[in-house]
Symmetry: C2
Subunit: 221 residues, 2 copies
Amino acid sequence: MIATPVLFAAAEAGLRLKPPPAPEYDTIDAEAAPVIICGFGRFGQIIGRVLRMSGIRFTALERDPGQVDVLRRFGTKVYFGDPTRPDVLRAAGVEQAKLIVVAMDDPPGVLRTVDMVKRNFPHVAILARARNRWYAHLLMDRDVDGLVRETFYSSLQLARQALLLLGTDAGMAERAVTLFRDHDERNLVETHAIYRDEQQLIQNQQQAADELAGLLEADRR
Amino acid sequence: MIATPVLFAAAEAGLRLKPPPAPEYDTIDAEAAPVIICGFGRFGQIIGRVLRMSGIRFTALERDPGQVDVLRRFGTKVYFGDPTRPDVLRAAGVEQAKLIVVAMDDPPGVLRTVDMVKRNFPHVAILARARNRWYAHLLMDRDVDGLVRETFYSSLQLARQALLLLGTDAGMAERAVTLFRDHDERNLVETHAIYRDEQQLIQNQQQAADELAGLLEADRR
């Protein structure tokens, strides 16, 4: 039997108009931990494992049910819940927490979560994952306690490997990467004041490139 | 005038069946450089800037025309071209290159590029960006010369900041992150042999967690 186009259209329209069923988030039964990690994918998990190794308790929230299933098969304790919602954070014990790590793979969701936490739970420190320079600046606008650009340190690591493969000695490669990193992080803070002005950013980029060119030379002397 | 559903359908079918117009890639006029960077977004650019600072020439290829436009407005030299294609790499001077850095934000595209380079240009070393553990193992299957998980080092950096905010002293935080990093990178290599076997991976993860729990303790003694 072949359905008519009208039926297809109706079914599609129905699919579009019907709101998604309200997800049934987990009831969080853990005693309050000093840290809440929002988003427990590849990024949040590493942070959780370093904390666990250091004997620091945390509560992990993840809003992708597929990811929650996989983690549980691997024996990881994680709660299914949407960290952008204040009631979910409250249930996770935010009122007793010292620190929230906002580690979702969803830049606008990260900003929404930071805004919501600042508004509702101003006592708690916030560390956030930034997609790139632009989001790093948006997070600085929000006065978070710390942030990291999500691929910055790994690209530095691959740059170091590239220098080694091309014959640079290990000490020199390390030095180049460290000088670059410090220069670029200073530059990230300096450009916060002008990040919405493309002309000024272009000028700054040219100046930064000139500075970098002389940096290794100056360091060698 | 209202078009009939039939015309809409025909137009849609037409859109689907017609192949996209062949993009006109740039003619690459640079003299051959020792390094080709495939993908010049936030990841590839950092590598390019570290190389430039170190006085090492490279040719950058980017297949997103919007990204190419932005980079050119900022004075960055980058060629519009698809690095998964051997003719594009040949035009970029791969035959004289020593190293290709495969840095696209497209994990299957990264694998295709690595396979194509291994097949066509076996003389050149390859460093690759891996999305996560799974892709890291797929890249190890391909015997690349080096790889990095694209968010791994930044998540370690945010973990270090979390330890500091919670009152761990700087030396101890640094030590915890370094021990974890070395343990996890060894574990990545060890699990390469079993990465398609979920039961073995689950056992390995439990064992790794137990090892990590004792690692800081052993280090303190």
